[in-house]
Amino acid sequence: MKMRNRMKLELLSLPGNVRLARVAVAAFASEVDYNVSDLEEIKVAVSEAVSNAITHGYQNEPDGVITLTATLFDNSLEIVIEDEGKGIEDIEEALQSTSSDPERMGLGFVFMRSFMDEVDVASEAGQGTRVILRKNLPGEIHAET
């Protein structure tokens, strides 16, 4: 896989920075001939991952750093969102949409998985979380998920 472009963005865990993350990613992706709907999907997925880093990872403490790395390959766009926050104890459980807690909708990962072609989560309690999102470029064959 050849790398065509890459950017790295570090943000503070402030709610307003979700928008910054999504605009930066969409601007980065605009080099690709995506249509507006594709870009919307990418933006929603990024918003969810960054929101999770803020609210769950850093539990709304404003001084956490979120790192977003976007890489454009020949056939896909990869976006990695990392925090050094609380981490996830049980990843399998976190990926389930059903939630007993009425405060959480539990749809963030569901959106990410339905809008992107690949979603990987690496996390350990106390060690932070890394979410890898991948979307095929337009015209690439989409693997059914």
Binding site: P15, R19, R22, D33, Y34, V36, E40, K43, E48, P138
Partner: protein
């Protein structure tokens, strides 16, 4: 330089938020027009070309008119 600066000032005393909104609505109109014309969804860059502004600026403007994403609201209207 003074002239360039004055040019920028005299023509744009308005707030950024309003100018972004104007751009976004134009982009939406162009998108609709292109869908009708070509019977398919245009790419971002086709819309940008029609508006004669960079794709990145279209992205930024269209984002500015969106409500902050909330899971408590449907995303697509």
């Amino acid at each position: 330089i003074g002239e360039i600066r004055r040019y920028l000032r005299d023509n744009n005393p308005i707030r950024v938020s309003r100018s972004l909104r104007d751009t976004a609505y134009k982009a939406i109109q162009v998108r609709e027009a292109l869908i009708n014309k070509n019977s398919r969804e245009p790419s971002l860059n086709e819309i940008a070309k029609e508006l004669s502004i960079p794709g990145e600026d279209v992205v930024f403007a269209m984002d500015a008119i969106q409500e902050p994403v909330s899971l408590f609201e449907p995303i697509y209207h």
